[in-house]
Symmetry: C2
Subunit: 511 residues, 2 copies
């Protein structure tokens, strides 16, 4: 349906920022930067100095040479752009030119056989191999940090074809390296959509979504990519695993569920069948204001437990509502959206709004919210250049645990400023998403952030939250990733079986 990228096609990284988010020409400048200074300067001291966009640093010579017939790069620009992910601590280190563990080789995989060849090459050279989709990890998922050894970044961006479409069953098979926009572009002429829109949508890939259990568009119901996948093809040193393509099965533990969240440590996801849907033609939305945050939480819980199934149901706390939705009344905002390709959704929206009224909500405006959402990573980079410590973290907990968890997080990150929005909600609990703002100390920004993160993470765990709802574990979350002991033993046994030489993304998940 769409052919894969060919040799000689433009390097997809060419116009991408090597140090920060997204396209280089989309960086925050001029009036947008001034406005940002005004908004954030209102609650945080800013020096007014703006860090310059750095040039690609000169890296140590590559320790690997490109095997014959392989599409690869060893130049500094290609290696520097793939040294870190896109977390705050990554951007700060890039701005400082601190690239301690750049990959030696960027291998552009052509197909599953080429992936297998790269794994063999890694085993033969003693190299670590890091699968790389869109490069948007915010948890250190792409950055080798282990003992000294050569490192290969296995870039899947050339494996970006849409291979098959089953319109009767509403499913599409795509290669793992395809990014969100290209996949949607292939589906649009058929009136179809995956409707998986993580904030990283523009630059993240199908394989990355699956490997990290990405959270997407839907605030309720099937929120994670886990539920949108029919079948996965995964290449490991122990062979290729292709699961049966069926809508559901009860035949033993689900194979795909072992690859979902494996973060490149058990194999490389090379393609997948994904469930698509018809593009929504019926839509209805509203925003509701709450004077009391706990009333907003209660209303959101009522909607989450109603079975109404809104596509959007995002509760913004007062500061989040001010920064993200332009609210100036000091109240919270609940952004509601319903959609369908089959039937009108006004009645469902009406009932949801009624539930809000029952909890003291009143109609409000929040039209600004979506634009800010997609622009947020660029704004974050602008703030980093202004010296601000700015980063997000997220969790999920039961409704009965939420109030205490929320209070514990605020106390843990104090005196930093923190906002909270509920990005996804379930009948049994919300997924709160926190954004932290603090004044940086030049040269100590990473340490300052790491301290806040450690306190926040300990607070989350103590209050019954998970260390991540959809950002994955990577390397940054390992200290707070605590699956049950026998499961850790099981995972280590699987790792030793599928990747006996330990080449696959060593360090993620503590493996």
């Amino acid at each position: 349906l769409s052919p894969p990228r060919r040799l000689g096609d433009p390097d997809p990284v060419r116009e991408r920022s090597w140090w920060g988010w997204g396209w280089a020409d989309q960086a925050v400048t001029g009036p947008e930067l001034d406005a940002l200074v005004g908004r954030v300067g209102a609650f945080l001291p800013l020096s007014g100095e703006v860090a310059q966009v750095p040039a690609v640093p000169t890296l140590p010579a590559s320790r690997l040479s490109v095997p014959p017939g392989v599409t690869a790069r060893t130049d500094d620009a290609a290696r520097a752009a793939r040294t870190h992910g896109k977390a705050y601590r990554d951007v700060v280190r890039n701005l400082r030119g601190e690239l301690d563990h750049p990959p030696d080789l960027v291998w552009f995989a052509r197909d599953a056989a080429d992936v297998a060849r790269a794994l063999e090459f890694a085993e033969a050279t003693g190299a670590a191999l890091i699968p790389y989709g869109g490069g948007t990890s915010v948890v250190g998922g792409l950055e080798y940090r282990g003992p000294d050894r050569p490192v290969i970044t296995l870039d899947l961006s050339m494996m970006d074809a849409v291979l098959e479409l089953d319109e009767e069953s509403l499913a599409v098979r795509a290669q793992a390296g395809i990014l969100g926009p290209a996949l949607e572009e292939a589906l649009r002429p058929r009136g179809l959509t995956l409707r998986h829109f993580p904030q990283s949508f523009e630059f993240s890939s199908v394989g990355g979504w699956l490997a990290t259990r990405a959270g997407g568009h839907f605030a309720t119901g099937y929120t994670h990519i886990d539920d949108l996948v029919e079948s996965i093809e995964l290449v490991s040193p122990a062979g290729v695993a292709t699961s049966e393509r069926v809508p559901a099965s009860g035949a033993g533990p689900a194979p795909d569920r072992l690859w979902l969240g494996s973060e490149g440590a058990l194999g490389v996801i090379t393609s997948a069948w994904l469930r698509v849907r018809r593009r929504p033609t019926f839509k209805a939305g509203a925003a509701v204001a709450f004077g009391s945050y706990s009333d907003g939480v209660a209303a959101t819980r009522a909607i989450a437990q109603s079975g109404l199934g809104p596509a959007n149901c995002r509760l913004l706390d007062p500061l989040e509502a001010m920064l993200g939705a332009g609210a100036t009344d000091g109240g919270s905002r609940l952004v509601l959206g319903f959609e369908s390709a089959d039937h009108p959704v006004e009645a469902a929206l009406g009932r949801a709004v009624e539930l809000c009224r029952d909890h003291g909500g009143t109609p409000a405006d929040a039209a600004q919210w979506r634009g800010t959402f997609m622009r947020a990573p660029y704004l974050r980079d602008g703030l980093v250049r202004l010296g601000v410590v700015v980063e997000t973290f997220e969790t999920a907990c039961t409704w009965s645990a939420f109030e205490a968890l929320h209070a514990a997080v605020l106390e843990a990150v104090s005196p930093a400023v923190v906002t909270c929005r509920l990005t996804h909600v379930y009948p049994d609990g919300p997924a709160p998403y926190f954004t932290v703002y603090a004044a940086g100390r030049p040269g100590a920004e990473v340490e300052l952030w790491d301290g806040i993160k450690a306190r926040a993470s300990a607070a989350l765990l103590a209050a019954g939250g998970t260390i991540t709802h959809h950002h994955a574990v990577g390397r940054d979350h390992v200290p707070w990733y605590r699956p049950p002991g026998p499961f850790v033993a099981a995972l280590r046994a699987v790792k030793a079986t599928l990747d006996p030489h330990g080449v696959l993304n060593p360090g993620v998940l503590g493996l």
Copy 2:
């Protein structure tokens, strides 16, 4: 909330049929048996002879003695009742008195520590240990068939307490041995329900549902118990695994998903937090007749892809409609039901019926259907006593694969009579459930069925179906259980790590 069964409480198996389904006094007799003969005799030759209900056979002496302080039984009645599951081939063998591998000891577990003690005892005595909930397996999940060794059935029926209820988060914690009715009874006074109603509901347990990935009440959406569980406690020889209790998480591969479907081979599930909901107060249902089966399939697909989310959406083919819903017009029936605890559902039902009309459907009556559904296992046993080969099998496939799969199954089981209903439907495909009727040859019934089963299973796999949507793998499905090679290697590594002496339910899943 509800205390566990105490020592000295009546044996829950006392009034149960040792050889067939359910309560002994509910066996099909008298006018009901005559009516059954009439219905089935219309399309199958019946000899008219009825096998007698057999007495408990005399078993070989137990090879194990009860350790001090353990609640256990070694009498023939307790052992015979737990030798087989409730498949057709189990009932036939029970009627014949063919109990080749009875357990030596039935150990009634008291709590997680007692389960750990039973595992240690099995390791010490070289025994196999088979976790046993309600005993309703239809895939040989409970029957030891390996090389000669002592066998312990670990009966969890005394671990039947409801431990905690979180009404704010809509979740309940229960011990694994609780059966469906007892759990619902504990929830009803609070206005809550799990609403997980497999056909085995009356006699199957929370632990069994989880270990076998049971399919339940809902025809669309969250069909499997997999999606209704928040957290599992599992006791393995390598220790106790308790997952974090959160509504969702993206922290690595989901631990619970490795236990779901593990069928007692990796550990014993001892308790779980399950998601409950408010009891529905709004309900609407309809039945629709289709003259053409393929029109019925097309309408069902349209509803499955509409996002309307019916709780019931079961398409009965003409013979199924005749036998199960009393239809006499030779057409198919679609049974539709919507329910909610929050809002009216007439509009959703109306839209679903409209989709049916678009595909040639007309309103019909199918009120009989639910009663037949719950009574079916007893009727099956009645037919077995009449010498009929009668059994079910089920699968799931994509919509694009269904027509050819359906035709292939009919051809594979011919000349046996087969009916089909779609028990669950997904946007990407249905879960067809087949019931086979054939005239038995006295003494060769099991072989006759095994031959039909082998042909049907090969046809399912060749046509793109899974070997089971919700009956599990057990031992009977092992020849057609074909997960991807690297996943098999992974599963064997997990088994070797968690159960190094191979005591846990050896043989299920081919482990």
